[in-house]
């Protein structure tokens, strides 16, 4: 079996994940990518999505990320995200409230464009959180 790789997911509030993984898959802005130990140095921005990794005990884990950056080194993957939550830590009630808020905002037409794009981003975040929390797998 291949060597493990250290995965670190950090947000401004705290370090969310810091553990060994067999493989890490992340939503790069130009497409999803997977990292195994010994990866060539690689850096990319991330879009909203789910980081998946297989931990030492062969369990597949899911982490919500709201976009950010990832750096892969031969023995280490670092993910910087503005917000990140493990699947079990997602606050469904909050996500649902955010969904309602975003929908309301989108329903109001004629608002300026910035608000619109922001509401759409909020909507996408809320939907993904809910979907991830409610299903075992995307």
């Amino acid at each position: 079996m291949a060597e493990n790789i250290t995965l670190e997911i950090v947000t401004p509030e705290k370090a969310v994940v810091s553990e060994e993984a067999q493989i890490v898959m992340a939503p790069g802005s130009l497409g999803e990518f997977g990292v195994l130990s010994g990866h060539t140095p690689f850096m990319t921005s991330l879009k909203l999505g789910v980081v998946r990794y297989v931990d030492k005990a062969n369990k597949e884990r899911f982490v919500f990320v709201s976009g950010g950056f990832a750096e892969a080194l031969p023995k280490r993957v670092t993910i910087l995200a503005e917000s990140a939550e493990r699947r079990k830590d997602i606050d469904i009630e909050r996500a649902k409230a955010a969904l309602v808020r975003a929908e309301e905002r989108l329903a109001k037409e004629g608002d300026d464009k910035i608000d619109f794009t922001r509401a759409r981003a909020a909507l996408a975040r809320a939907l993904l959180r809910i979907r991830l929390a409610e299903t075992a797998r995307l």
Binding site: K14, A15, F42, M43, T44
Partner: protein, 294 residues
């Protein structure tokens, strides 16, 4: 000499004040712990962020982003001032305001127009008093439990104003938390972003090939740099919050000590007054008895 009753009342009043200052001291202490925990929670992110930025700066040119370029002619500058919302924290806010005032005076002397963003009520009040140009104000942030979104919102606004040439320079004035007893008002330039420190090549670090980047290094830097402004603002807010609580703790500690001194002095005065009253009464009685004998 004050009468017995007056002194007694005064002692009770000072004791009550002492209770309040002591309670405030304890509240500040517990808030300080919270703020410090958050600062520590942010450290890994900030550290990693700098690492990533540093390694990217190696591969991308300096001229790759307008956020890095200093303007030849600076006409408008912007100052973000972080202060606390509430007082009773010694010279904390006054020191910060002085720092901002100095900076503004220096800029104005060069013929630069200065505008302000206020984080915290004390700074905002000062700007109003001085009739300064307030572009934006955020209250209830410093000292509370704010999220990163506050900083990124402000950061986005700064970056877009900078790109639209509404500001040619942006500074932030905040209190750096050095220790429990020392908080230092500091000024930092946010925009244009000061030259990135390129990572020193570590001699004993293992070989490291140039990163493959997606999108291009320039594109990636273009996304990272605005975020680095958010990170700076967030850090400044965290530092200021922690400093505020530390400053308040110190101020309240001093106030409690002053109360203790006062109580001591007053009790002394009270006892003296009581004794002299007793002596006077005794003299009276003795005098009366002598007179009856006579």
């Amino acid at each position: 000499m004050a009468t017995l009753k007056e002194v007694k009342l005064k002692i009770t009043a000072v004791k009550k004040t002492k209770q309040i200052t002591k309670a405030m001291n304890m509240v500040a202490a517990s808030r300080l712990r919270g703020a410090q925990t958050r600062m520590e929670g942010f450290r890994p992110y900030a550290g990693k962020f700098e690492e990533v930025l540093g390694s990217l700066a190696k591969s991308a040119g300096e001229e790759s982003s307008p956020l890095l370029l200093a303007r030849d002619e600076v006409k408008k500058a912007h100052i973000i001032l972080c202060t606390s919302d509430r007082g009773l924290c010694g010279g904390f806010n006054a020191n910060l305001i002085e720092k901002a005032d100095d900076l503004a005076a220096e800029l104005t002397a060069k013929g630069i127009e200065v505008s302000f963003t206020a984080f915290g009520k004390k700074g905002r009040d000062w700007m109003r008093r001085e009739k300064l140009n307030i572009v934006d104000q955020h209250l209830g942030v410093v000292g509370g439990s704010f999220g990163f979104s506050v900083a990124s919102k402000a950061g986005r606004k700064m970056v877009s104003s900078f790109l639209a040439s509404d500001f040619d320079q942006v500074f932030i004035v905040y209190a750096e938390f050095l220790s429990m007893a020392k908080q230092m008002p500091l000024t930092k330039q946010l925009l244009p972003i000061p030259p990135l420190e390129k990572k020193e090549e570590d001699a004993d670090a293992p070989y490291q090939a140039e990163h493959i980047t997606e999108p291009s290094p320039e594109g990636l830097l273009g996304e990272l740099l605005p975020k680095s402004v958010d990170v700076q603002i967030y850090r400044a807010l965290l530092e200021t919050s922690t400093s505020e609580h530390a400053a308040r703790m110190m101020a309240m500690d001093n106030a409690t000590k002053a109360c203790n001194d006062m109580i001591g002095n007053l009790t002394l005065a009270y006892n003296k007054a009581r004794q002299s009253a007793i002596t006077a009464e005794l003299m009276d009685i003795v005098g009366g008895a002598e007179a009856l004998k006579g």
